[in-house]
């Protein structure tokens, strides 16, 4: 763990130092029912060659965060504040057109369901050619050669022929490979993968994850992987941000989050994972309740209605919102429990059942 990661939150160092520096990003959607605080102040940093995993339940703001970085909310009714520094440019303040020119070029994205994310009416090759020609002044022929080359690189057999196929003629795993080929065609330095394996078979999931980490080694890009699958994160991520109700609640190196988690929500997440390599009671222990509506987030700690340690020893869970604080061990957690209590509870109550 380098110092950059452990002291990631709220450090006053110049945002231009790191490749990607997200500071207090907020994305709010005004609706008829009220203001939806989809992302409500999230901060993290990422350098090239490293992978950040963002995990959390559905509707916690993971995807909105990634789309805000890419500038996909520009021109909509979404209210965005905070800073997103990418290689010295603040994407939140930047002109929509300037961000568009970076999109698909310096930063690109892979989506969850490759069947619906690829246009059904255009061939795979044509869609990659299009992505290439937006940012490169190349002839169709050159771009086609490049597309075939990319398909070959991501492991599509017979790429010259398959490039002429349409998305529905590909299998699920192949489609996601094609999607990756399209995202990487302009050698992006930042790749955001939004649930890249969720729609795939387990065996194919492993292949896609392996492909992504191979490509990262080859191109040295920074990757943000958004998922609710902790297995995927454990496999690929260097750092992990756990999100809850639009905010980061635990942010540390992957090993810390998996082996020494300190937030009760993270404990719950780890507890709800099925594992074959452990002997345990016959039932999983899910987190009780469901994620809060982002229209109406509980006061104090957003997790408090589902937390079994609420109010323990008189901590103000329902009234004061805990801020992300970095502890002496280099762990960044937003919880009112004291660091000692958290560690003791984890070792005593949680770890034995994992």
């Amino acid at each position: 763990m380098s110092a950059v990661y452990t002291s990631a939150v709220g450090t006053p160092a110049s945002p231009r130092d790191t490749f990607l520096d997200v500071r207090d990003l907020r994305v709010h959607f005004p609706t008829e029912d009220g203001l939806v605080r989809a992302v409500d102040g999230i901060s993290f940093k990422l350098t090239k060659g490293r992978t950040l995993g963002i995990v959390g339940e559905s509707g916690c703001g993971k995807s909105v965060t990634s789309q805000a970085i890419l500038g996909l909310h520009k021109g909509t009714r979404a209210k965005i504040s905070g800073e997103v520094w990418l290689d010295g440019t603040d994407l939140v303040a930047a002109d929509a057109e300037d961000v568009r020119l970076l999109r698909g070029n310096k930063m690109s994205m892979i989506f969850q369901d490759p069947l619906s994310a690829l246009h059904p009416f255009f061939s795979i090759g044509a869609q990659i050619v299009e992505a290439y020609r937006i940012h490169n002044d190349a002839s169709k022929k050159v771009a086609w050669t490049r597309a075939v080359e990319m398909l070959d690189r991501v492991g599509i057999p017979n790429p010259a022929d398959r490039a002429r196929d349409y998305p529905h003629q590909f299998s699920g795993g192949m489609r996601q490979r094609a999607m990756i080929a399209m995202a990487l065609v302009n050698d992006p330095q930042l790749l955001i993968a939004d649930e890249p394996t969720t729609a795939l078979d387990v065996t194919v999931q492993a292949q896609i994850i392996e492909l992504m980490s191979d490509l990262q080694k080859e191109f040295g890009s920074a990757i943000i992987i958004i998922t609710h699958d902790l297995g995927v994160v454990a496999e690929i991520a260097d750092d992990v941000m756990v999100m809850y109700a639009g905010r980061g609640i635990e942010y540390s190196g992957a090993d810390d989050v998996f082996y020494r988690p300190e937030h009760p929500y993270t404990w719950g997440l780890l507890n709800s994972v099925t594992r074959l390599d452990r002997v345990r009671e016959d039932r999983l222990r899910p987190i009780p309740g469901s994620p809060p509506s982002l229209l109406n987030v509980p006061s104090g700690c957003a997790f408090n209605p589902r937390c079994q340690y609420r109010g323990q020893g008189g901590i103000p869970c329902t009234t004061e919102r805990p801020e992300l604080v970095t502890t002496a061990s280099g762990h960044t957690v937003a919880c009112h429990l004291s660091a000692e209590d958290r560690r003791a509870t984890f070792l005593g109550d949680i770890k034995p059942s994992l």
Partner: protein, 338 residues
């Protein structure tokens, strides 16, 4: 694909056959139930029973259903002579029967009237397709703004107002209104042949086009708007934007193509439906088209004409269905027929 088209055409032939059988049965049934007899359409009410019998025999109306049907179908391909024993009228290929009311073969009646209906349908369909789709797209892209609301209120008016209301209103303003507003003085006074007088043709048809198109344009605007909004929410539109495509190209290349696919389907069917006759519009503007012909035929119980118009309308619809299905396969690569 070729095999698919051939198979569809064969199927279409079967459908047309069934429709012809059904219309022929409808032609035949009233005679059994009410005793109405097509022979009287020829001989008049005051003929003697012997005359009636003679005419009935010479036209083959005394034969059974199947023989008569066979003669009817045979006439379509080979023509037929209608003889009352004194004079003979030859009805040549494609003979759909002979109307004694008009003293004319049904096919020539239809051929006379068809240019009117065709002019009306083509002009109106271009207007409503362009107008409706453009308004629909604009509405979808400006969703929730005053442009969207205004367009949708006008569209609601469009689907709610019948042609004979908008048509008469337009006539009232542009033909019989204040002198300086009489832009189309010959509207509502019948059809002017395009080959004889192109400007007269145009000015006679503008108001019918507009009133017919208004109705359909309103429908198409609403449909296009809904389809466009649905498409703009698709994942592949997000992908296109994530690639860095400029917004207008995302709309033009990625969204429109998908959003307009359902429009192609209903356009084909609507156009085909109109080619069988636009009754209300033709009546409102005194256009002697197929719609007017069929209503007149119904009023006069001119059965051969009714059958002929129904059959022609059915053929248009069946063909349009095939064209639409083939177009679908061209537009959407997921649709492949074998």
């Amino acid at each position: 694909m070729i095999r698919y088209i051939i198979r569809r055409l064969l199927g279409a032939l079967l459908v047309v056959f069934v429709i012809s059988l059904a219309t022929f049965a409808i032609y035949f049934l009233p005679q059994l139930v009410t005793g109405a007899d097509p022979t009287y359409a020829y001989v008049g009410r005051h003929a003697s029973p012997a005359q009636v019998e003679a005419v009935r025999h010479s036209f083959g109306l005394d034969q059974n259903f199947f023989v008569q049907y066979f003669n009817y179908i045979k006439a379509i391909f080979f023509g037929r002579d209608f003889s009352d024993g004194v004079s003979t009228e030859h009805c040549s290929f494609p003979c759909l029967g002979y109307s004694f009311q008009y003293q004319q073969s049904v096919s020539s009646l239809i051929a006379d009237r068809f240019p009117v209906t065709l002019s009306l349908a083509i002009g109106a369909s271009i207007l409503w397709l362009v107008g409706g789709v453009l308004v629909g797209i604009l509405s979808a892209l400006k969703r929730g703004t005053w442009i969207d609301r205004t367009a949708m209120i006008i569209a609601l008016a469009g689907v709610s107002l019948p042609v004979y209301f908008t048509g008469l209103l337009l006539l009232f303003i542009f033909t019989y209104g204040p002198t300086w507003l009489r832009l189309f003085p010959n509207a509502g006074q019948g059809y002017v042949s395009f080959s004889e007088d192109p400007t007269g043709w145009f000015s006679a048809l503008v108001l019918p086009w507009v009133s017919l198109a208004f109705l359909f344009a309103a429908l198409y605007a609403r449909l296009t708007r809904a389809s466009m909004l649905e498409t703009m929410g698709e994942d592949y539109i997000r992908t296109a934007r994530a690639k860095g495509l400029p917004g207008r190209i995302v709309i033009r290349k990625h969204a429109l193509r998908a959003a307009l696919t359902p429009i192609v389907t209903i356009f084909g069917l609507d156009l085909a439906g109109l080619l069988g006759g636009a009754v209300l519009t033709e009546f409102t503007f005194s256009l002697q088209g197929l719609g007017k012909l069929s209503i007149d035929a119904i009023n006069k119980q001119d059965l051969p004409v009714i059958m002929g118009v129904v059959l022609i309308g059915a053929v248009f619809l069946v063909l349009a269905n095939i064209v639409v299905d083939v177009l679908y396969a061209v537009i959407d690569p997921r649709v492949r027929y074998t």
